[in-house]
Symmetry: D2
Subunit: 337 residues, 4 copies
């Protein structure tokens, strides 16, 4: 932490800040500059709350220097984590494709889509049994029935399944059926849910909050690792901006940043970022090229009748092209790096 | 819902869309324009999912026309809701001040601050027993002990207390101690929590999500009303933007919009919007002038030692000035409207 | 400038950075921390380009410490600037109301509106002769004819006039007729125009760019002051965010920030922020309460027929109420501070 | 245009709106819905200003239906435009790489970099002679001397050169030396400059404003085409959002949107989006995969000594890898589409 004083801060104000730093058990290091004094705070363990000093007379800014995360940091674990899910590997040197409908609607629907995406090259199947919906009057998912359908999909196709958990109440249930438990964008800072996920034996797919910084996102993952579960897959799905031609703005620069800062795998969900079918394949290809460890794509065999998010679901034949292009770009990059 | 077709949409494409609308049980109404055809969807009950049609060939845009919310809408209940909490009234014709520390830290701290804010004119006391924190290593609140301290504050001062609930697990506990149960910005779309709040007998203070549109916020309130609890107070606390001189950007235009769209009371939290003490009082005064039904302000008698958010907490003497100015502006506006 | 090194930066990397700082003529000051080294850069005159060091091996971050602006800074001129325009004073201890139509449409229109706003208490008149329009096919303003109409308004009412300049080509012309020359939001970083404004004898009203930080805005003003014109009025008019219920999001926290950082007066334009009539008066009142030195409001006697921005123009009778409320709040605050 | 009335709009209010539409020479078409009336506006030529109606009693929303742009629209010209610059082709079926330093600093610097990027596969050279800088105290470019150096680069390497124009005053000069005249992000809505560009014989590279919607960007291009110059290349360079790990957030979804809406070529500038070297190559690769017609990349042989934007400049050897990967992905996609 660096505290920057006002130009006209008095010696008394500076001394008071120094005393306050010592009171917290830290070591102050004043740095006289040409025009103003700054005070470094040293030998702290873990992050410092700048607000402790920000309100003191003469203090202009409190600038964090140390990264607040520990367990997720690549500084602590240089080697990239590989998450194993059944036969699928996610992370460091692997490229993984997850596909399926937004919501599990019926056994017929899920098996139909699962067979098509498997044939097209998907490694894992996705589908929501519990759906977070903006409106209380919208379809909320099949619940337990949906989970059972997912189990049948796994049995029939051999693909591991990813599905979302919404609350503590249903965590054990979801955990029982899912191969990967997803925590959605609206729950990224649902800290009770994160702590519970940290006690799970199943890998967690943690979506970025739609207004979260990468730092906040990594801190959310830190909650999970801090409880003992190190199998976390990060998933960028677009952030909220003024841009109105897509539902969210896909922040692909998060990929090199996360890969630099953390050892956890990061995948991209182009479907929720776009919100429109015609942007999904281009963004999915871009995700490979930018260096993501995988993509998660919504596919529906009859999107006009989908109970949610039909407009952003690819037709199976569109997904087949995307999967082929994605694998080809991935291979191409490995040969050209 | 209005579906706008491409300029070069074929008659076959238009017919297919018309057929799809009928299949959903709605009434299509084609509107030939100078350059392109639009198709209105009529006689629907409740909102239509545009994604059902957005992916069809020839469809360019799906524009929602009907508002998605019902119970929170002023079109359904023209008269403004007044929420009664002990002796305090919030909404329609009343101006309410809620004040207290970010977190309950000790009985001494809470009682000290409570006496000061009450003397300065606060109607209600706020303080967190369960704290949502970005870092798993930060102070997470006193929990049950904090709730008991809040009960003592109520007993000692007569002020009703507002405190936050983080999860289903602790809802019954928080509900037992609190006069108003707060749902925080990170939980605005925690739909399980919203449904539980809808079953509560206590008023709910629902903060706006930091990237939520007003429509999404009102839909979150709709979840609560749909379960039977109509005592909801909305609280604007700033949204996330590119602006970096405040922690969030206070969106005061939300006040006239909410007052126009909904009968629910709306208050402002300038402390979390600002994140810096020197912006809190100006924004608090602006909140009155823009027409909010109240303000909620963080106050600490010794902010340099606060366990959270010290930098944005007013000193009691600063709060006293703000409370006086706020009431004076409110009175002034009533005399000049 | 503070350079933060990676945790695993080598002594050689640190030495190379120290050498590079010296090469630029600055003084390096290494600050060993618990986990990583930071290096302060001291005794620089003016801001340092962090990019000089950011790309060097082992460097993690370059954090600016010194503010980049000089002449606009309150650290350099503690007393608030008062801009005099005819009989009107703007800044430090004065509250000024500017009103008029978006565009000058005709002599009749302008004189009609001018008389009404003057009677309602406006200090100055605004109206565009050259209009920046998103579409090349929209009304672009009356040009010289509009300027002549503004001169007649001044003659008839005694009110000074504010009007916008779009380019270097017409600067001399606009300057000749206007009492205050406005530089619009789209031109905030039109540096050639800013330099020309710095050579003008007329006060400049500088609107904030719709995606500008306060720092960039003050740097734009610095361009004007650096050329010799110190009569600059800043005008906040909303920034672009994800929020879609108003055209822009009015950033009222900019007012305390600018008042703290700079000696220049700051006013608010609630009309362009809102883009809708029903939000203008509430935001205009909030502008007074937050501490702005004035407001600039669009008024039209027949907004349904306005050639631009009719939807956000107040009716004269609405403006009369707003002007009365604004002055009353201002007086109230002076009595209660 | 579709006007949506309030639920409780009276027949008189509806009639008044219908009369107002007729008064403007348009054809009103009322559409009674289940809960509220909407009124379509038909047979208009060009876009309608919704503000004409938005302020009328009973009107809730004015929703534009027709796109406001004409000449840039793919609906008018289905075939993609190809811009020819010397031997280089940009657009429809071609992939073009532009590279060079942020600013022309000296003949030695420019020739050194030019030779390296040409050898690595660049088609065109970029370099600023007039630099838009946030600070008036920063290096502002070499001006005419810089233009002359660009001419030497063209002569020595055969590469066409791209350079930025800042104002009307220097347009003729820049036009004389440049092969492609760039209009920068801060000038995207400098309408005088756009009109002047429309009269030029040289192709124009139009960067997206940092807070511009795609619609506003295309309307800016429309200004150029409307004056007669149809040789416009669009360049996405990131937009301003809350995200703070990159200087701007690269909006790659703009590529499929622009390609769908317009016949103009669109390229990507990953350097200004990132603002940090380590994100440039990943974003540059993503640009190819998303379907851009080219990339423009900053390269410097000694970025630690660059006079501007050194931190985001690639080393020549990094650029060589990026150029190779980009061409390989492009070829790969052509073979797999």
């Amino acid at each position: 932490m660096l505290l920057v004083m006002n130009k006209n801060a008095t010696p008394e104000e500076i001394d008071a800040v120094i005393a306050a730093i010592k009171e917290q058990g830290y070591v102050p290091r004043p740095i006289p500059g040409g025009e103003r004094v700054s005070i470094g705070i040293l030998y702290n363990k873990g992050p410092i709350d700048g607000s402790l000093f920000l309100g003191m007379p003469g203090v202009n800014e409190a600038i964090p220097v140390t990264r607040p995360y520990k367990l997720v940091s690549r500084e602590i674990q240089p080697k990239g984590t590989i998450v194993r899910v059944g036969d699928a590997l996610i992370g460091n040197g692997h490229f993984t494709i997850i596909a399926g409908p937004c919501a599990v609607e019926s056994e017929f629907q899920s098996l139909t889509i699962a067979e098509k995406v498997k044939k097209a090259g998907a490694d894992m199947f996705r589908g929501g049994a519990f759906k977070p919906r903006t409106s209380p009057y919208a379809f909320q998912g099949l619940g337990l029935e949906g989970l059972k359908i997912l189990a049948k999909v796994r049995e029939a196709t051999g693909m591991p399944v990813v599905t979302e958990v919404l609350d503590l109440e249903n965590f054990a249930l979801v955990e029982e059926y899912a191969d990967v438990v997803q925590i959605g964008t609206r729950n990224m800072q649902n800290f009770s849910l994160l702590k519970r996920a940290g006690l799970s034996k199943k890998p967690i797919l943690l979506k970025r909050g739609m207004a979260a910084t990468v730092e906040e996102w990594l801190m959310a993952a830190e909650y999970i690792l801090a409880e003992g579960n190190s199998q976390v897959i990060l998933c960028e799905r677009g952030v909220r901006t003024f841009v109105n031609h897509s539902r969210n703005t896909l922040d692909l620069s998060a990929v090199p940043v996360v890969r630099n800062e953390s050892h956890l795998p990061i995948i991209i969900d182009p479907s929720h970022a776009a919100g429109r079918r015609d942007q999904v394949a281009p963004l999915g290809r871009a995700a490979v090229a930018v260096g993501a460890h995988g993509i998660m794509v919504e596919v529906h065999h009859d999107p006009g009748k989908a109970l949610s998010d039909g407009a952003q679901s690819l037709y199976p034949e569109q997904f087949e092209v995307l999967a082929r292009q994605a694998r080809s770009i991935y291979k191409n990059l490995q040969e050209n790096s």
